[in-house]
Amino acid sequence: MKTNRLLDMRNLTVRFSVGSVGMFRSPKQFSAVDDCSLGVGEGEVVSLVGESGCGKTTFGKTAIGLIKPTSGTVEYQGKDIWKLKGNEYNEFRRNAQIIHQDPYSSLHPVKKVYDVLSAGVRYHRLIPDEKKIKERVIEILGLVGLNPPDYFVNKYPHQLSGGQRQRVSIARAMILNPRFIVADEIVTMIDVSLKIGILNLLKELKGGIGSSFLFITHDFGVARYFAEGGRTAVMYLGNIAEVGKTEELIMDPLHPYTKALLSAVPVPDPILAKERKMIELRRIDPPNPVSPPPGCKFSDRCPFFMEGVCDRKVPELIEAKDGRSVACFLYGK
């Protein structure tokens, strides 16, 4: 099927085994990602929002080929990434990068900043000689705000603060001019006063290089800030619950889980906060991800639960309104 999408994830399922293997016990299988489909266009920003354990990180890493899906396909420019070979594979690899969450474990502890940044450039032979590589490294350090670049070039990670390390991580992803970047909770472990700075930096770099982003976060406020003109997808226990334009989705959530999530988000306005009531769920605590309820995974907590419908099958992601898809039996035929 012809597609104008840069990266197209179709019916992705990623299953893991949990539990111990015994004489009479085989490990349980659980689907971290369960039949999810999402496409990201050229230069587009898609936020992936969900709580911890919903599978968003697994989804992101599967999207760029770091995890092999149990079933389903990931297509880069129309071609299955797991079938690419040789130069085509190298092309894809160079163009699909990741920025990790934890600045304290995303950089090699025994490597200097220069080595960290030049490795990819050298591997893909993007720049012929060592002198020019050094120039490029200096350039990118300046672009991510680590000034003066000469000071940072020979530093080890332990000599840098969390915010500085995160900028190095960003530089590492960006130096290859990739067309697609997965940003996995990149400001979650950053001080409040610095979050917007890092997000603005990313927005600027995105403007310069034109990369697409899959921006993973549990914080709706951050998702909204980064994916302002783009789309947002909401995940729950391995399924995509809803996808749509960011502003519209926040103003008018369709899926009960999205509604509940938005009603629980803290409001920095004490008067408003007192008026807002969280949507009452049938059960407070989420189920064990290894043993979700039958049918729709949200069914045991959903205030709109319909017996005989919601506990039968998992709802499919269908287009409910223009540009909005929901996986809920309340919508559609």
């Binding site: 770091l66 690899r93 990068q97 474990s105 995303s106 490795a119 591997y123 991580s169």
Partner: protein, 285 residues
């Protein structure tokens, strides 16, 4: 490796008092092995007037069962001893690392095959294996002896390297290297191995210490061909031929090699305290 890596490593070593003492001891042994023979000529002609001569000014460690100066024998033996244990240590570590790293990182069928190999080698008892090999491959060459000594030792290291790799390969910075596209072998040797250098260094030193004892034992038992100046052989002659532990006036003949063996071991162990420091980037900056 750049110049300031070397200078900072030396600085770290000097700052750790135990490692400093250890390195000085080791340096002493190396100098003894390299230059000693030039300075102290070995005269193997029997001199019956000096049989079991006690320590004196001309013969600081006394003389052996045929009147040859013990100190000179020790000095000449040092070269063989150090060569054997160094080779054994290096081969153990190189083999153990390669097998452990590759098995741990590549996983799958490679891991299965290598693991089976390691399991087989581990079931063979160490010392008997070495004794059998030494008996079969009768050789005087210290390098070959070093190889023989590492025959079983590498497997244990391979096993523990593999489990270290299993936990490291899940770390974020390794995943970032994969995302960049860096090949598996490059990741294993340029990303994973540097993290494990302290572990490798310590294991190297322990392998050296083990092979020191193993080689002394082999010479002592007499399995390895006779080489008069190896400390193990000296012990052999001292105890079995001369009955030196029972004969009070010949005791120095036993004690001398024992002291040097212990001293070498102490040097190695003290030096190992510095190994972790050398590879710690926090201390080098």
């Amino acid at each position: 490796m750049e110049l300031d890596d070397i200078t900072s490593s030396l600085r770290v070593l000097v700052e750790n008092k135990r490692a400093l003492v250890g390195s000085l001891i080791l340096l002493g042994f190396i100098l003894m092995a390299l230059f000693g023979p030039m300075i102290f000529p070995l005269d193997m002609d029997p001199n019956f007037s000096l049989v079991y001569a006690p320590p004196s000014f001309e013969h600081p460690l006394g003389c052996d069962y045929i009147g040859v100066d013990i100190l000179t024998e020790i000095i000449w033996g040092a070269k063989d001893v150090l060569t054997i244990v160094a080779i054994a240590g290096i081969i153990t570590v190189v083999l153990g690392c390669i097998v452990g790293l590759v098995a741990g990182y590549f996983g799958g069928i490679v891991d299965l095959l290598l693991n089976t190999l390691v399991d087989i080698v581990l079931t063979i008892p160490g010392l008997p294996l070495v004794i059998v090999l030494a008996g079969l491959i009768q050789t005087r060459d210290p390098v070959s002896i070093g190889f023989i000594l590492s025959a079983g030792a590498w497997a244990g290291l391979a096993r523990s390297m593999r489990s270290q790799v299993l936990s490291i390969k899940e770390r974020d910075f390794i995943e970032a290297s994969r995302a960049i596209g860096i090949g598996r072998l490059s990741i294993v040797f340029y990303d994973v191995l540097p993290i494990l250098m302290p572990f490798v260094g310590i294991n190297f030193l322990f392998a050296v210490v083990q092979s020191l004892y193993a080689s002394v034992a082999l010479f002592f038992i007499g399995v390895l061909p006779f080489s008069t100046v190896h400390w193990g052989t000296m012990l052999n002659i001292a105890i079995q031929v001369s009955g030196a532990i029972f004969v009070p006036y010949a005791r120095h003949y036993v004690i001398a090699p024992v002291i040097f063996i212990i001293l070498l071991q102490v040097g190695l162990i003290l030096f190992s305290y510095g190994v972790e420091d050398i590879f710690n980037p926090r201390l080098r900056t």
